[in-house]
């Protein structure tokens, strides 16, 4: 955690997710980009937000957050950036600049999911529906147990 306040970290993370989604959208992958927003901001970031609000960790840390691992982190970040920059600078000529964008990406994803990957899709769908109904069943049983406990 480089920022002192966990909430600032969450907001930063959300901005990061949004940036990644924007990259996907820029590349013409609408479905992936929007799912990125829906899942990572709508679910993951909100889950972290809940964790922060439920625990009292939203208060900023008292002690200094400087640590020695920062130096190593900065070195690694600079190295990664340098390698990426080098690769992009020298790799740009060899690669084709334009790739054909598919006409109906969502339709293609749907076709692929329901023809080639239909079995994994069905298994995942069953698992997720079971999880959803399971959550509902848990919510159904909770107060009955509480009442029994009270009696």
């Amino acid at each position: 955690m480089s920022l002192r306040n966990p909430v600032h970290c969450v907001v930063g993370l959300t901005v990061g997710f949004l940036g990644l989604a924007a990259l996907y959208l820029q590349l013409g992958a609408q479905f992936v980009g929007l799912t990125q927003v829906l899942v990572y901001i709508g679910a993951v970031a909100i889950l972290i937000i809940f964790a922060i609000m439920m625990t009292r960790s939203s208060e900023s840390a008292e002690q200094q957050t400087f640590s020695r691992s920062w130096v190593a982190g900065v070195v690694i970040a600079v190295a990664v950036f340098a390698v990426l920059g080098w690769a992009i600078h020298f790799g740009a000529q060899t690669l084709p600049t334009q790739t054909a964008t598919p006409d109906l990406p969502v339709q293609q994803i749907g076709d692929a999911l329901l023809h080639r990957f239909v079995l994994p899709l069905e298994i995942i769908a069953l698992l997720l529906t079971a999880a959803l109904i399971g959550a509902g069943v848990l919510a159904l049983q909770d107060p009955a147990g509480e009442k029994r406990g009270q009696q």
Binding site: V7, V11, Q30, G42, A45, I46, M53, V106, G136
Partner: protein
């Protein structure tokens, strides 16, 4: 087609599209993408805040009538200038930020809320050929934007450093997360019926007529159930009564925006109403046929007028519900989402899938309606037997 000649009716229908094309003719080719975006976005930025201003007056008047009083009637004739007075007042008020507040997050929260609320309008087809962005995953875009609103509410509630704000934000996020699932699942049936995630194709699939009646999804059993469930979830998503716990005035004063004043407060108000219009617009798009006319002999009326008439109708229902129903308790709210809404939306998806496989005709209509009715009765009976649904008890008001 009957009253006016085809050409003049079509011209009235497409007038805004034609104006845009005419204006684009004066723009150099290099600037055209930017100019096109500006010309598409500006009307939305102007029209919907104007509707917001009118709606605040309509709501205060309507609530007043429901509660046996007049409502605002001092500013201008019949109080018509009240929204302007309110707007000027909020502009001139001092902007107070609590000393212990997190200034940057405190400032960004209302901006993010309004931006996210406006973004949702990008995929709403307001009239024939009148949509800002015809995304092939438009419905997905709409629901993804809802996630940003939750983040904005959290930022507002947390950064104010007030227990009321934090409580309000926690309530709001818990409620919005719980009701987002039924909202998406209820809207899914329209996507299943159309076979497309694009809002434009969903409306076009409904803008056909057999006899004089349109093919709106609300006229099918699963569409009707889906519309009702969608509207209930939409009421909860936009934090309106009877699901207005996040801002319950009598408990936590105003919830997550209690520490905001002046124009930032007005921005929250604006964002909330924009969200309400956007979800209503989505309900119109998914179930009420978008811009299509309710009868085939009324297709000469410009398509955008139908959209706004439907929006006005839904807004009036929202006001009516707000004036009629008392607020739920937090546990009632959660139980309603997870025990009634969720199973009912799942069963509705089953009904919509069955509809696809039955041959067209009266039989599938009756079969699907019967299935949904039996499911509804069994579900509510089951919940009642378990003591989940009870008659409301008034402990202090007998």
């Amino acid at each position: 087609m009957i009253v006016f000649s085809t050409t003049s009716a079509e011209r009235a229908d497409q007038i805004f599209v034609l104006i845009k094309h005419w204006l684009m003719g004066y723009v150099p080719a290099a600037a055209q993408p930017l100019a096109s975006a500006v010309l598409s976005v500006t009307p939305i930025l102007l029209v919907f805040p104007a509707i917001f201003a009118v709606t605040t007056l309509l709501e205060r008047k309507g609530l007043g009538r429901i509660q046996n009083r007049y409502g605002p009637n001092r500013v201008g004739p019949w109080g018509l200038l009240q929204p302007m007075a309110d707007g000027l007042k909020s502009l001139t008020k001092e902007d107070i930020v609590p000393t212990s507040a997190d200034h940057w997050v405190h400032l960004c929260a209302p901006l993010l809320l309004v931006i996210a609320s406006f973004l949702a309008y990008a995929v709403l087809p307001i009239g024939r050929n009148m949509v800002v962005a015809n995304l092939s995953a438009g419905v997905l875009f709409f629901f993804a934007i809802g996630a940003l609103v939750e983040v904005a509410i959290f930022m507002a509630g947390w950064s104010s450093r007030s227990k009321y704000s934090l409580l309000g934000a926690m309530r709001a996020i818990a409620q919005m997360v719980s009701y987002e699932t039924p909202l998406v699942l209820a809207g899914l049936v329209a996507v299943m019926a159309t076979g497309s995630l694009s809002t434009v194709s969903i409306v076009e699939a409904q803008a056909q007529y057999s006899g004089i009646l349109p093919h709106w999804f609300v006229f099918t059993p699963w569409g009707f159930a889906g519309f009702i469930l969608f509207m209930i979830a939409a009421t909860a998503e936009s934090n309106r009564s009877p699901f207005d716990l996040p801002e319950g005035e009598s408990e936590i004063i105003a919830g997550y925006y209690i520490e905001y004043s002046g124009f930032k407060f007005a921005l929250f108000f604006l964002g909330e109403y924009l969200g309400m219009f956007a979800t209503s617009g989505m309900a119109i798009t998914l179930f009420l046929g978008g811009w299509s006319a309710p009868f085939s002999f009324l297709t000469w009326v410009p398509s955008y007028l139908w959209f706004f008439i439907k929006l006005l109708g839904i807004t009036c229902v929202f006001i009516w519900v707000r004036g009629t129903l008392p607020r739920l308790r937090m546990d009632q709210l959660m139980h309603f989402a997870w025990r009634f809404m969720l199973p009912m939306t799942l069963l509705n998806i089953v009904a919509a899938a069955a509809w696809k496989f039955f041959p067209a005709g009266i039989i599938r209509w009756v079969a699907c309606a019967l299935f949904l009715a039996v499911a509804f009765v069994l579900l509510t009976r089951g919940l009642k037997r378990r003591g989940e649904i009870q008659a409301r008890q008034y402990r202090f008001a007998e």
